[in-house]
């Protein structure tokens, strides 16, 4: 899969640590672009297709069915939150999904970035509800944080929110039958979000 230039450049990227890694890895170099980039409209119809995309790539990167399914679930919940809360169910607003494989020398995995043009909210205010309070709704953020190793919300400029999620490939999540060539598409650079805030679920 060839990297492609982003049709959605983000001015905030200029100062980000992933903008110019010292060891350029085409898989994670934002100057080249993500390995996969998809733009979809904020209509629930398209959630199924994005799930299939994410689960297929996660499997290819070595996650087993359970691990890939959970990554797709987290992505689905993130998109649903954009549709429901960011865009208030407007069905024709843009959402971008970008995927990067993460490479050695640390644990490989997948980085998923979801961006929108919804109004800014305070990233610190995004949190899951108390699970002891059993009621319909409010589970999405909890699921995302439970499933993914790194979850970071940030504001885009001038408008919109960005969610960065990382899932590392652990021995438990690894599929021993995965295509070993999948990891050859990535180079020596570790993921560019090292040092960013981590929220473990």
């Amino acid at each position: 899969m060839s990297p492609m230039p982003s049709p959605h450049p983000n001015p905030e990227d200029a100062g980000r640590p992933d903008a110019a890694p010292t060891q350029v890895d085409p898989a994670v170099d934002s100057a080249v672009g993500p390995a996969v980039e998809v733009r979809l409209l904020s209509h629930p119809t398209y959630l199924a297709g994005s799930r299939e995309l994410v689960i297929g790539i996660a499997r290819r990167l070595g996650f087993d069915d359970n691990g890939a399914g959970k990554i797709a679930l987290a992505t689905d919940e993130a998109l649903a939150n954009v549709i429901n809360h960011g865009y208030k169910r407007q069905p024709d607003r843009p959402i971008w999904i970008r995927l990067w494989p993460l490479a050695a020398p640390n644990q490989p995995g997948i980085r998923i970035v979801i961006e929108d043009e919804a109004p800014h909210i305070d990233p610190e205010a995004i949190c899951g509800r108390d699970l002891a309070d059993v009621k319909p709704g409010g589970l999405g953020v909890h699921i995302i944080k439970e499933v993914m190793d790194v979850v970071e919300y940030s504001k885009r400029s001038p408008v919109g929110m960005r969610l960065t999620m990382i899932k590392r490939l652990t021995p438990r999540a690894a599929d021993p039958t995965a295509d070993p060539t999948a990891d050859q598409s990535t180079g020596p650079t570790d993921d560019p979000t090292r040092g960013e805030t981590e929220h473990h679920g």
């Binding site: 629930p44 199924a48 959970k70 689905d76 649903a80 549709i83 169910r89 059993v134 319909p136 699921i143």
Partner: protein, 115 residues
């Protein structure tokens, strides 16, 4: 917003229980269909409402929310709500949401009917 309805929901009477068989992924676009079906079944205040989930390969939090809502309505209606035959992926989201102890969940339909 128009929603697709590519989920099928059939119901059967088994003794004094109503059994609902949803088939298809239950996500943000499909959960309203399940919600409507649950509401319709609970209006008749069955002694027991069983939701047989073997045909649901995927469920997101909107589907879970629909079932939580059904559980609340079932309590008001005096109906027992039982979930059965969960696929691994669906069971996984109940575990993540820590709801596996909140619902009555059985391995299969036979166990649900005798629960």
């Amino acid at each position: 917003m128009d929603e697709p309805t590519d989920i099928t929901i059939t119901t059967e009477q088994r003794g004094d229980a109503r059994v609902v068989f949803p088939v298809g992924d239950i996500d943000l676009s499909r959960s309203p269909v399940l919600r409507q079906a649950m509401k319709a079944e609970l209006e008749s205040k069955p002694k027991k409402l069983v939701i047989e989930l073997s045909g649901v390969e995927y469920m997101d939090s909107s589907g879970v929310a629909t079932l939580v809502e059904a559980m609340q309505h079932s309590r008001k209606a005096g109906s027992a709500l039982v979930l059965c035959s969960l696929t691994d992926r669906v069971r996984s989201i109940f575990e993540i949401a820590r709801l596996e102890q909140v619902f009555v969940i059985t391995l299969d339909l036979e166990a649900a009917l005798s629960a």
